[in-house]
Symmetry: C2
Subunit: 115 residues, 2 copies
């Protein structure tokens, strides 16, 4: 279980559920993305099924938008389903695609990790 | 494959081999440890078998001591086997054990991540 005052294991994060503040289950974290230059964890990759009218899909969200909630044994994000649905479409290049990253951070109102 | 100029996936790091500068295979990364407070990746957990005269074991090393080398498709560390062998013994509390972490960072000559 990730702990807000300690170290969290990448393996443990994988599979942790993500909820809205109201308690809706948005999916689970499938992976974390680490900025090689700084060592910072910059995205949690949310895996979800269904609510966008698609099959299981992946969606990188800024790691700072995930807050661990012990009472739920999962992350809570203040991002809404609507924000997730309206996010810039993510293709296979997103890890290296600064243009997508810029649009994504703008969409979420989160400062870029690379500046 | 982790890329020095891009984002690296926690899942991909898991299993990546670790070499000495001379090319000795020291083991592989089993997990990464993320400081919940800052989001920084602070340790790579090296899994190795045998060279300490033990079975498979785990050893947290400061993440900054791991440099990705494309030609080897793995990490290279300038830590020697002797340094690893002489490192402060790691028990189950190490994730929360600041005393162990202090001794470990001193041993490796790496600035603490928590200051």
């Amino acid at each position: 279980m990730p702990d807000g005052n300690a170290l969290i294991s990448g393996k443990t994060i994988q599979g942790t559920r993500v909820y809205s503040p109201a308690g809706d289950d948005l999916g689970h974290i499938d992976d974390v993305m680490i900025d090689a230059a700084s060592g910072r964890t910059v995205y949690g990759v949310l895996e979800f099924g269904g609510f966008l009218g698609l099959g299981s899909d992946h969606h990188a969200i800024p790691f700072g938008k995930l807050t661990y909630d012990h009472s739920r044994d999962g992350y809570v994000t203040d991002l809404t389903k609507e924000q997730l649905e309206a996010a810039p479409k993510q293709d296979e290049t997103w890890r290296e695609n600064r243009d997508w990253q810029k649009r994504s951070h703008e969409h979420y109102g989160v400062a870029p990790y690379w500046l």
